[in-house]
Symmetry: C2
Subunit: 459 residues, 2 copies
């Protein structure tokens, strides 16, 4: 008997699941129907800042697989079609074609919820005015570029100084805008401890971006045509020909929640190890709409990242297709780049470690990416958190230039393996003068953290 | 009572041990005397090819700490002084000052043997002729540069196509020599499997280096003045204005062996976890003169690398100074670079895995260093070996361009932790378009290796 798999959401998680399920099951065994609200499927939302910056010319480059390619593989992908209702008991979804409003019910034997996330839009006056842009979807990116092309003024305000905000600030700077970056926190990049965020602050300022910390946005001021013209904070007003919101995203889980599927503290759908929705036998969920297990903190978190979405989609597709795979969780790794500054973290920040109930020591070192005498050796700062007494690694943050960011992977694997910082000091990492000093910066940090564990960790 | 620590050999391992011991013990508790045959101490021998290439102007840049700096820290470093005899029972060493031949006996309470390695010099006619150079010490590097400056001809022959041979071939190429690289094996870089070495062969040839595989050198032909003029193999003769030997090194363990200290199958001194010479209570050894435990193969090997020497010296200094530290072993990580080609390996090659008694599957993938659409994304080849049935990672080799080499560190940590390739597929590695595709190349290889384990590993 031919089964039908329905997928809600045609981006990384949904279409990875579809592709993997198709690899395992022929069309005469499994029909696959995927609904996607936007024009595009299977694209890299993470690439949008580079498209806006001009590094990527054509948004088609961000598309891993076109709708036509999916269809050629017998995946019935319906773009510009929104799922408006999920009937779990009835095993069906109601969808609406956006161009003509036509609604139909489609039954499913198996369901994948991959509805993604939506940008946070605080309920401020003017927040929905023309000229205010999120950068979550390819359609968002196109709308922003249309605004940039239609605007003569060169003043841009970016609200939010997380990864996306900082990347967008750089993108606009490279398009010759005067960029103001408004940040609610004391330092940018709250994915870093404030002492490490300070390094990003200095670098961003050095690029010529006006960085305003502790800025509470109260209003987007509009002109007579209703267009955004300035961003108002409790302290000041920043003229803006374009406003970009990089405030973060929330799981798009309303549909699932309305259908009675379980969601967690951060609004993400809750799944088991196989990415099956908790309490359900034939419904899976993955990507930016789910919460993931933080293996270090030992609790669920919401970490919207394309790499997790792809892995989860792969796991779902394997399980839907009759195989077996799990997504055991994450350690909270993230990297990003602002011009030549590389920013990375994995594991827990100080505040997160405290919240998780850990007592810990910290160590911060400066080291170089290559042997000190080798041309291009660049300085980086590495900060490490280790559990008091046991010395187990709890987190690592790195800010530096070329060669800094991906070094965080060593700490990510060590975290996954539950290593202590002292065990890390003996790691056999690749050494040659063009790649590293004899003591890799991560090992230098591990050494100093080991000393801190010994000095302060007893008792 | 003041004790005396004697150190034989003033390079990475010896002087790291001295410095760490000095941090822990004041001069009134511990006297430290170090003997070094050459003019320099604490230098980066790994930097010599870059000095010869011209990347590094001044050999002083390769010196981490000068003899004067050591002496200022109350380390009695005696350069140009060779230890000629070790009397273990009597607790003393005999040394000879090279400039004047004066010999003295010096007693010790504790001893560190850090005599390093010496280049292999096959007993061929002409091998000791002027114009034939090893590149093991700073003095060797200076001698080679003197030859280059004194030679009008532009033909260079490098014998041996391991790391040093390939690096030296590039260095000479960049000094505008016509370079021939003679290699005894079927492909260069026998630290890689032949299929991966083939990629290095193609790249080296592409640079304009004449690469001759399966070349058995039989003689260095000299002119009437006794100077090297050509390298003769069983097949051909290669004119040479300068000859560089990059054939590899052997542990410099004769002194220790003559004194009755234990050496292993590869001629290296054998130590325990604390780097204490086996069977001895007050003698430690570290650096290129010792064998190390290969944690993957489960046996001793000789792996002369500056990073191991530094770590071992640190461990020795800690233990000599009354602390506690261990060097648990290595997983066989190495990286190197030829122009923009990055070459890396960790764990076991196919032949090494077979020799160690493993049955295994392999997987090779092509992937890019960054998101495919991101400027500068470069291709790399990743090969992975996994144990049959268990799926445990046994080794990883990477050949590619920028961003390829240090990715081997992820595999090195996974090997240390005993991870399976399937566990690796879930690793939370840093992802952003400038740093990686959504599936990091190492994870792509792990996925394919997992499939290979499932497909071929049963039974």
């Amino acid at each position: 008997m031919r089964e039908r798999l329905v997928i809600i959401g045609g981006d990384a998680a949904g279409m990875s699941a579809a592709s993997q399920a198709r690899r395992l099951k022929d069309p005469d065994e499994l029909e696959i129907v995927a609904f996607e609200r936007g024009h595009h499927a299977s694209y890299s939302a993470c690439g949008i800042p580079y498209w806006v910056a001009g590094d990527v010319d054509d948004p088609e480059q961000l598309v891993a697989r076109t709708p036509e390619e999916h269809r050629a593989r017998h995946i019935d992908l319906r773009t510009r079609t929104e799922v408006t209702e999920l009937d779990v008991a009835g095993g069906r979804v109601r969808s609406r074609r956006l161009p003509d409003g036509q609604e139909v019910w489609t039954g499913f034997d198996k369901l994948v919820v991959a509805t993604g996330a939506r940008p946070v839009r605080p309920p401020l006056p003017g927040i929905d005015a023309p000229g205010v842009h999120g950068v979550q979807t390819l359609d968002d990116g196109q709308a922003l570029l249309d605004t940039l092309r239609g605007t003569k003024g060169r003043q841009a305000v970016v609200v939010g100084a997380g990864y996306i905000g900082v990347e967008m600030a750089e993108a606009l700077l490279r398009r010759d805008y005067e960029v103001t970056l408004l940040n609610r926190a004391p330092e940018p990049m709250t994915t870093l401890d404030p002492d490490m965020g300070r390094l990003v602050h200095e670098a961003v300022t050095g690029l010529g971006i006006r960085m305003v910390n502790e800025a509470e946005v109260t209003e987007i001021r509009t002109d007579e045509q209703g267009r955004a013209r300035a961003v108002v904070t409790s302290d000041a007003e920043y003229p803006a020909d374009v406003v970009v919101l990089g405030i973060g995203v929330r799981p798009e889980s309303e549909l699932a929640e309305a259908a009675g599927l379980p969601v967690g503290d951060f609004g993400g759908i809750l799944t088991d190890q196989a990415m099956r929705v908790r309490g359900q036998s034939a419904i899976w969920a993955g990507g930016d709409c789910v919460e993931v297990l933080d293996l270090v903190a030992g609790r669920q978190r919401h970490i919207p990242l394309g790499t997790h979405a792809n892995k989860q989609g792969q796991v779902i597709g394997t399980n839907v297709g009759g195989g077996y795979a799990t997504f055991p969780g994450v350690v909270g790794t993230a990297v990003s780049k602002v011009c030549d500054l590389e920013i990375a973290r994995t594991g827990l920040l100080e505040a997160e470690a405290r919240e998780a109930g850990f007592q810990f020591v910290t160590a911060t070192v400066e080291a170089t990416s290559r042997a000190g005498y080798f041309p291009g050796a660049a300085s980086m700062t590495v900060k490490m958190l280790a559990e008091r007494r046991t010395g187990r690694l709890l987190g690592t943050q790195i800010v530096g230039r070329e060669g800094a960011g991906k070094r965080v992977d060593v700490a990510a694997v060590a975290l996954t393996a539950g290593m202590t910082v002292e065990q890390m000091t003996a790691l056999d990492l690749g050494y040659a003068p063009p790649f590293s000093p004899v003591w890799d910066p991560v090992l230098v940090a591990a050494r100093k953290a080991t000393q801190a564990v010994r000095a302060h960790g007893a008792g």
